[in-house]
């Protein structure tokens, strides 16, 4: 069940983890906008700013102490990155309006890196924000409580359902179910005996949950209170200011004459 492994949250504490999730999300959005702003054209690719964007995020990863998880998510993106590179390279090559081979390479590389920077910023967000915090952020941005509750409860039950799936798998294997047999279609069909008990159990579980919720005064008042409240701290304000500065700087750079491609700068 390695698929579920990634969804398991771990309670870690670091300056980055303690940042307000709303602020972190704002930062990710700013980074998203900046990343989209750069990339350039086939004969004037802007690889340089993307490299800068990629590296300025590394201190975040180090400060949060999620190096290994981050590396794993980067590796996960590798296939798509390679695909984007190849796609751009091949089609631009066929299209054939590029000035030099070096520029074509740089452009394809820039497009791939742009994607990687986006993945990087989102993965930092999700690696350093506990689902707890995320749910709380949703609540405090006035998302209806039902949705927030559904979200945190879903996260809460991921490990439980993963465990249950494992138990069902063992039980069915003990009765002679062979999962790894047959062609592709047959293999998918093999999973039906796992899915049915899993779904039935999940429905039964949800009924029990509903009962327990009702017994704990669910829906007693319109104005729910909350044990935890997110408040902005100094570090949060610093990140907001930093994000805004980055955005201003990016817009300023954008308004300047186009950034020369690396190929030109390095006289290749």
């Amino acid at each position: 069940m390695s698929v579920f492994e990634g969804l398991r949250f771990r309670r870690v504490s670091s300056p980055i983890h303690r940042l307000d999730p709303r602020v972190k999300f704002f930062y990710v959005c700013v980074l998203f906008v900046i990343t989209i702003m750069f990339g350039g054209t086939i004969n004037n690719p802007e690889l340089l700013p993307l490299i800068v964007l990629f590296f300025i995020q590394i201190p975040f990863v180090l400060a949060a102490g999620v190096k290994r998880e981050w590396a794993r998510s980067m590796r996960g993106a590798a296939f798509l990155v390679a695909f984007i590179f190849a796609f751009n390279f091949i089609f631009r090559y066929i299209y054939g309006n590029y000035e030099s081979f070096a520029l074509l390479l740089e452009y394809s590389f820039a497009m791939a890196l742009r994607f990687l920077v986006l993945v990087e910023s989102f993965s930092i967000f999700f690696l350093t924000t506990s689902p707890d915090h995320l749910g709380l952020a949703l609540e405090q941005t006035h998302v209806p409580y039902e949705f927030c509750f559904a979200f945190t409860t879903a996260v809460r039950f991921v490990p439980v359902l993963a465990e249950e799936a494992q138990t069902i798998m063992d039980a069915q294997k003990a009765r002679g179910l062979e999962l790894e047999r047959g062609n592709f279609i047959k293999r998918i069909k093999n999973y039906i005996p796992l899915l049915i008990p899993l779904i039935v159990n999940a429905i039964r579980r949800s009924l029990e949950l509903a009962e327990a919720m009702e017994s704990r005064a669910w829906g007693a008042t319109e104005k729910r209170t909350n044990l935890y409240v997110l408040t902005l701290k100094n570090s949060d304000y610093i990140l907001v200011v930093l994000s805004v500065l980055m955005l201003i700087l990016a817009v300023y750079v954008r308004l300047l004459p186009p950034i020369p491609p690396l190929t030109v700068l390095l006289h290749i």
């Binding site: 949250f9 309670r11 506990s130 689902p131 707890d132 749910g135 509750f149 945190t152 409860t153 996260v155 809460r156 490990p159 439980v160 579980r205 029990e208 949950l209 509903a210 009962e211 327990a212 919720m213 009702e214 017994s215 704990r216 005064a217 669910w218 829906g219 007693a220 008042t221 104005k223 729910r224 209170t225 909350n226 044990l227 935890y228 409240v229």
Partner: protein
């Protein structure tokens, strides 16, 4: 004063054809520790659900007769109103914890009631202390053992400061030691805080010693209702398939072979003492 009073309670689930409860009339006094037992499918759980309005409000169906819980008529009050007075703890500890941390779970009921934050924090601390799980405060429910989860479930009900706590087979997913610990916690709540306890339980060997009132049900009816010693001592109780405490069973066997003990023992300690008296006398 009666905390729970039912009169002629009869109920059928919307999907069912058989009556789940039939003419149940019981009275539970304030501060009592009630053990409710009977064979599986005898209506114990259904009766528990009546106490906080899950039956009929959540399950539907027609409820006949009267149920008064802390003076409130279950027909007329919604589940969340009754939840302030009656706390329900369920069988499966896993399915009654929703939050990602213990602390947040204990606060869940209070959040729903709209209790102010300062008050909430105090009550959460108090509930965690009382059930002795302060060290688990930050943990996620799935990291806990079944016994710990069940104590969290008790704490989260306790935080709402109910007058009555109804526990529906809270130990059936636990090992004997975990079960023992749960019973001790429940007993402390009953003796120290004066919370009325209704405990549905099969493990009478462990639970019977705490009871001061026993109700035995079968096929939706109340078969026996009274003091533990009287009820467990009856031959009829055993024949209904109730797992009476072993020391009580010993009493019955001795009685049949002509040895009379001075009183019906419930625990092995009692049995030992009574037997000593008998042996010294001869």
């Amino acid at each position: 004063m009666a905390v729970i009073e039912t009169k002629g309670l009869t109920y059928t689930y919307p999907s069912g054809t058989k009556r789940a409860l039939e003419d149940v009339s019981i009275t539970i006094e304030r501060g009592e520790f009630v053990v409710l037992t009977g064979p599986s499918g005898c209506g114990k759980t259904t009766l528990c659900r009546c106490f906080n309005g899950l039956v009929p409000h959540f399950y539907g169906g027609k409820l006949e007769g009267n149920v008064l819980v802390t003076g409130l008529n279950v027909h007329e009050h919604s589940i969340y109103e009754l939840a302030r007075h009656v706390g329900l703890v369920f069988q499966n500890p896993e399915n009654q914890l929703f939050a990602l941390s213990v602390e947040k779970d204990v606060a869940f009921g209070l959040e729903n009631l709209g209790v102010p934050r300062d008050e909430m924090k105090k009550r959460v601390d108090w509930a965690l202390q009382t059930t002795d799980i302060e060290d688990l405060r930050e943990r996620a429910p799935h990291e806990l053992s079944g016994g710990q989860q069940q104590r969290v479930a008790i704490a989260s009900v306790l935080a709402m400061q109910p007058n009555v706590m109804v526990l529906d087979e809270p130990t059936s997913f636990l090992d004997p030691l975990g079960a023992q610990r749960i019973f001790e916690v429940i007993n402390e709540l009953n003796k120290n805080l004066g919370i009325t306890v209704v405990l549905v339980e099969h493990r009478l060997d462990l639970a019977a010693r705490y009871a001061d009132h026993v109700i035995i049900m079968d096929e939706g009816r109340v078969m026996l209702d009274g003091k533990p010693r009287e009820i467990f001592g009856l031959e009829k109780t055993r024949l209904m398939g109730i797992g009476i405490p072993k020391s009580t069973r010993l009493y019955q066997v001795l009685e049949k072979s002509g040895v009379h003990l001075s009183k019906v023992p419930i625990t092995s300690e009692e049995a030992t003492q009574i037997l000593k008296e008998v042996l010294n006398r001869d």
